[in-house]
Symmetry: C3
Subunit: 621 residues, 3 copies
Amino acid sequence: MRWPKGLDGLCYGGDYNPEQWPEEVWREDVALMREAGVNLVSVGVFSWARLEPVEGSYDFGWLDRVLDLLHEGGVRVDLATPTASPPPWFSLAHPDALTVTADGARLSHGSRDTYCVSAPAYREASARIARVLAERYRDHPVLAMWHVHNEYGTWCHCDHVAAAFRTWLRGRHGTLEALNDAWTTSFWSQYYSAWEQIMPPRATQYLPNPAQVLDFRRFLSDEMLGHFREQKAILRELTPDVPVTTNFVFGDWVPVDQWKWAQEVDLVAIDHYPSENPPEETAFAADLARGWAGGRPWLLMEQAVVTYTGPRMVAKRPGEITRLSLSHVARGSRGAMFFQWRASRGGAELWHGGMVPHAGPDSRIFREIRDLGNLLPALAEACRDPVEAPAAILWDTEAGWALQSPGFPSTGIGYLEAVRQAHRVLYRHGVTADFVHPSADLSGYELVIVPSLYLISEDAADNLRRYADGGHGTLVVSFLSGIADEHARIRVGGYPGALRGVLGVRVEEFLPIGEPVTLDTGDTASLWTERVHLAGAEALARYPDGTPAVTRHGRAVYVSTRLSDDAYARLLGLGSPAPVELVRRGEWLFAINHGGGERKIPGNLLLPPGGYAVAKVPRPG
Amino acid sequence: MRWPKGLDGLCYGGDYNPEQWPEEVWREDVALMREAGVNLVSVGVFSWARLEPVEGSYDFGWLDRVLDLLHEGGVRVDLATPTASPPPWFSLAHPDALTVTADGARLSHGSRDTYCVSAPAYREASARIARVLAERYRDHPVLAMWHVHNEYGTWCHCDHVAAAFRTWLRGRHGTLEALNDAWTTSFWSQYYSAWEQIMPPRATQYLPNPAQVLDFRRFLSDEMLGHFREQKAILRELTPDVPVTTNFVFGDWVPVDQWKWAQEVDLVAIDHYPSENPPEETAFAADLARGWAGGRPWLLMEQAVVTYTGPRMVAKRPGEITRLSLSHVARGSRGAMFFQWRASRGGAELWHGGMVPHAGPDSRIFREIRDLGNLLPALAEACRDPVEAPAAILWDTEAGWALQSPGFPSTGIGYLEAVRQAHRVLYRHGVTADFVHPSADLSGYELVIVPSLYLISEDAADNLRRYADGGHGTLVVSFLSGIADEHARIRVGGYPGALRGVLGVRVEEFLPIGEPVTLDTGDTASLWTERVHLAGAEALARYPDGTPAVTRHGRAVYVSTRLSDDAYARLLGLGSPAPVELVRRGEWLFAINHGGGERKIPGNLLLPPGGYAVAKVPRPG
Amino acid sequence: MRWPKGLDGLCYGGDYNPEQWPEEVWREDVALMREAGVNLVSVGVFSWARLEPVEGSYDFGWLDRVLDLLHEGGVRVDLATPTASPPPWFSLAHPDALTVTADGARLSHGSRDTYCVSAPAYREASARIARVLAERYRDHPVLAMWHVHNEYGTWCHCDHVAAAFRTWLRGRHGTLEALNDAWTTSFWSQYYSAWEQIMPPRATQYLPNPAQVLDFRRFLSDEMLGHFREQKAILRELTPDVPVTTNFVFGDWVPVDQWKWAQEVDLVAIDHYPSENPPEETAFAADLARGWAGGRPWLLMEQAVVTYTGPRMVAKRPGEITRLSLSHVARGSRGAMFFQWRASRGGAELWHGGMVPHAGPDSRIFREIRDLGNLLPALAEACRDPVEAPAAILWDTEAGWALQSPGFPSTGIGYLEAVRQAHRVLYRHGVTADFVHPSADLSGYELVIVPSLYLISEDAADNLRRYADGGHGTLVVSFLSGIADEHARIRVGGYPGALRGVLGVRVEEFLPIGEPVTLDTGDTASLWTERVHLAGAEALARYPDGTPAVTRHGRAVYVSTRLSDDAYARLLGLGSPAPVELVRRGEWLFAINHGGGERKIPGNLLLPPGGYAVAKVPRPG
């Protein structure tokens, strides 16, 4: 992790798109930024067409003036390479660099992200604009950080991608025989006798090959990472001291393996847009970001001043902007950034909200933005010690991808839902959790939860066995874990495959259900049940037919069904719910009352509705 | 407005497609038409392939015989140019003239409307068949009117369209700089440095540019209007005395700006197919048609003998065909026409119904058709005076298009729903409303309603200000009005933008809601709320938090939420609901009882269930 | 019907895909097959890419070893031609042989069934691999039967298909004039003046031509049948004594007219995967298969060990595998086969289940498979006499296709639902039904049901008239029967068209409904009502307005609405429901208790819950 030089304390600001406004607005912007305590803005994320309006012809004048103004105003810049949206002239000159959908439609420009990451022309143009930008601003004192691209995640299925996919597959599998074996191509006559026969998973007649789809997501992640690394190398060469990052985005569709990417960025940064339950989603996203960052600081690069639910944009309640930002900071973010500084008056996201809303600075939103900006500097001290987490939840992006295949025994399963439940139950009981990779050192945790880790390597399975056998703490594994190897091939002989030994069970059949059932413990179980045989384990709870539902083998617990949240909490022995959100960092306790009532918190403090405290509170006991 | 010479009184008839039937049926058709009082039929709407079965080779024999037969039978003809459906030979010879979808699929012939209005070959072929047709029948006495094309509204995204769109954009914006500014292309790197970079809004990676989409709909409207005008010029040249029209169709997807088109047609004609509530939808459509026609007569060109709801075709109740036709006539239609004369026995719309159903003339439907035909001539006198409307509702097709953009703060908003509510509330209270353009002279109305007029020019805003300030009557503006300029760019500084002054309010935030709330008046408000600051206005109703919900500033009322229909009626001071549908034209009162009970109407008349009256009734008071 | 030589009694086994497993597994497979009583397996269904990994280069070694092992183990082989899934090298060499969707997207390989049946290259390659396979194994004693292709049903819309469609249309219609008339191309200007103008029903602007769509399904069926016949001719030439079959699959989308195909296969075979109500769906499918087979034996080629409902795979209850297999056998299947022998560990259908599940032979599933295998040989004697069925239900694949057109007066109608209701009501009352073609000799049946036979020829209508007038039994016709001729053109003058005479009614209007209504009999009617005039018939039940709903004319009953199941049963005079599933074959009675209670059956036997009996039981009375 690298941190921008000269940028002490916490970052505060957002995406700043001055090119959408006349220059007279820029001066008001900088004055308002000063008023709001803004110290960092992301500039140029979508500016390619304004920086290079014609191929090879650059217009840096406006950006020069913007950066100088910001510098004068004391605001540092997270300068973006604008490669997420190539200009119209580029697409017109290189139609082969436009995205192609799975069913062969070549997309048009006119939105954003209209590129193919494998297209040679796009790669060249990306490197060129990154170099030109770095050469121009390498010595500008306003430059704090590089923001490469934006929210990597664009799928393409064109012939460039096909060629790159084949190259990647050669690297991964070595030989065609190995690939045929890994992909089980004997099924449905898919055996490949030459590399050029292999295609991306394009639209096809019926179900696709799940191993091919999984490898394609791995490939896309690596392919985009290659694009990132090319830019990073240029930026490193020209500005060796400036950290380089990109902003991760959440979503089932995102083909980015953050574990791998986190090794390449100088600072993990995320964009986070909660929808249903902002406090819980915020804690989840922040803990995940901290996990990707290996426990080191990271940065909330984008959030919004409103909440985007599916059917509507809900205004954040008074203080909510601050509370959610505080939750991010408590969980390791080195600041709170927004999309975007000033709400747009045109373009596709003109309703997206901004720190300065359409109504202008004379508005509740801007006043809250200003208040938050005044609060943040005071929090720096409380952020020095690391976040303390007694529990770990295993997270594996690849396993989640594998579980998105069509054809599973129930359409109700989902990796994210399984992981979220584990996190939610801990969160509601005040237990902070780290997200860790399956191969991580687990010995420091009292509790390790493995939610539906469908795909697991033998090494990772050994890691879990060592944890449980080593007496470090309790291992809790839920259904659909351990089933498949890295090529999504099922381990036969009895589920849960690689984890049968450590769990002391053998599962004979999956029995997904529609209506919930009641276990002999009185707990409710839904979605999924199994026919479990004890093979060393004892039953902690049983299905109505008397067969085991939850088992324990030494310190390894197996949950063969989806428990209700309450039952899950009881199984984990979590006691009563926490009064408010609580995060401890050394002597400091962060307490945030997202709810509507007055709450008593550790240290005998009273938090009013919507209140928060960051205080030195001795550990209980 | 021009009216067919020699066609006095009201028109009665429908689409007549004799080419689907053997000649022996034609004679029965004409006999039945006479029996039913039919005096006008639309012929040849989809006859191109039968008129020109091979390129340049015409077969007019059958049409000659049909027209002669109709003439002998005393039925006049609204003769169609058949350009809505080019023949298969045309598509095969000119595949570039087939429609291309937004995602690049070129559609096949085999349905109807399979053409690109911008394809040169299609334009040429359209002009040629129109000329040939006019040359052949210019002197036929049966010819009453020209029916150009059918239900204009076909979208295309092909390269011909792209080229035409660019030409149109040059005309509209003049320079690329103006276009870039109007479209806010600085957002997402969409800046265009050459005209050829601009594309129609084809399938793209993510959200499209709303200004581009809006201009594309304007372009499509103008492009199709160009096609209409080309044919009109030919027909005018050859038959200077014959009126030329086309039939407007309703639907969110229709890219036709009827205000512009109404200037070009000799007679506004509409096709109307209600679904949920036929009487209310009929009044709405008829008032809209009268608005487009500038208050002059217009023509209901198509209706059906059944009601098409989504899940099924519901038979019209006894008398319903007459009552709905009467409603159209009362509101300004110079007749009642149907699709179609005789229900088809094959083809895609064989279940569409007809004046002569599959069962033949010995049927309830044909008997009702005959009764209606016998009634209509008696109504001509009552139709001499104009429809009287004390209220006006602003209608702007472009504003409605703009409100269809994705990304609004609530997915529940809709222009049509907002306009329909205003009309529905007036209708149910017996208040006839005109639909008028935002720039229309409003001084004659007691009440002007502006429902969700999202996009408004400064001139139109001035027009509203003059109306309210002039003391002519009450101006009622509902939420999401006045927000954007003609390029769909938001007016910043506070909503409702251009209408802040006249309304005396400043809105700081939009607060869309899920569950309804109750105002301090006891009224129910749903979907949408706002944070309203009074700036001269007073509050008429307040939200639960005490902030203003409905305000009044002089005679200008602002409604920042969706009121229930009842609350809306109370706000407008409408009194009790009308007993039946009532329309006044001078001394004549049209009264239609669509419901199931006996109703007392002005003039101390009693209308039985399903009954109607057209009578001279003195004005009350 | 031909039966494999040397394969006495009932077949037992499933699809066997040894190429997915290492050779050491093969020996375990054969040992387990012997243990389970397996005597027939389908081999090679998807093996093309492993048999011909490079064009013209064959690898039969593995298959030689597999067949030898099976032969040694006493298991016979239903050897598949692998043409359902061409290898990747084929698609790469012949991209024109890949499927094209209706909107013009060319599908990729990477699944199964990625071919165009009209592509010359595919036809040639199919014939070649079939010949090579037959030449190699013609004398292998393990060869019992040929399994051509798999589940025919792939649609394609490419230019090869277009050309073949035109050729087929010439054969069917003779002249363009006849085609234009049959298709009612006068509607919407679709008149064809040259054959090359005719296209498959590709994506088009609006509704397609229903006659074109219907002919396209007929064409696809014939085109695939041509592919089948080419292979059959090769196999017959090389192995004149080996029966040739293919496996029919169920589904609204399947373009296979089984009546025609049944004439070409040596043995009717079906794949059956019930979803909602397995016992009823099994009886339905089995009776249909027996119908296609003309009452002769047929074969259940595929079933699963689990039930695939939409949202999940439900484990079959204890004994359910046996009960459903027994139902198939009772209703004429010469065995019970499964997909597949051993559950796959990779590939798209790795969760599809198998006779040997992932858990291996130490599992409930395999134990039930073994039990079933031990039971089947004892049933051969009971299967000698034909299945006895007093009732017939008319089934016409083409009529079902015609009823799938868009635009019917109700979206709730469906051919399959209408037929299923008739069958379900009989099934629940213990009445076995045959499915028969509309032209079949009906004189032997006490009851003939005609559910929604929309499309009917005059000959078939005469056949029904002869049945009813001949006093053979009761004819029950339900709504939407007799309406259209073979070109889907409506018979005008009054519904139900061709059946007006025999039914003694004239229907004037269709009146589809949303909410159910109650007839004067107290019965409930839903979905559809009609305005029925008696023309010789008497009313058996009336709508609330007093018009006839159900009528009788001699022995011909007309049902103009959808009756509830109970009302349907009362109308048919069916008495009380049967206690269990009952099928009689001569002296033998098959009784299967699918339910949860003890049931008394004919012969004074008691069946425990889930029990079954195959016993000589004298006929009642």
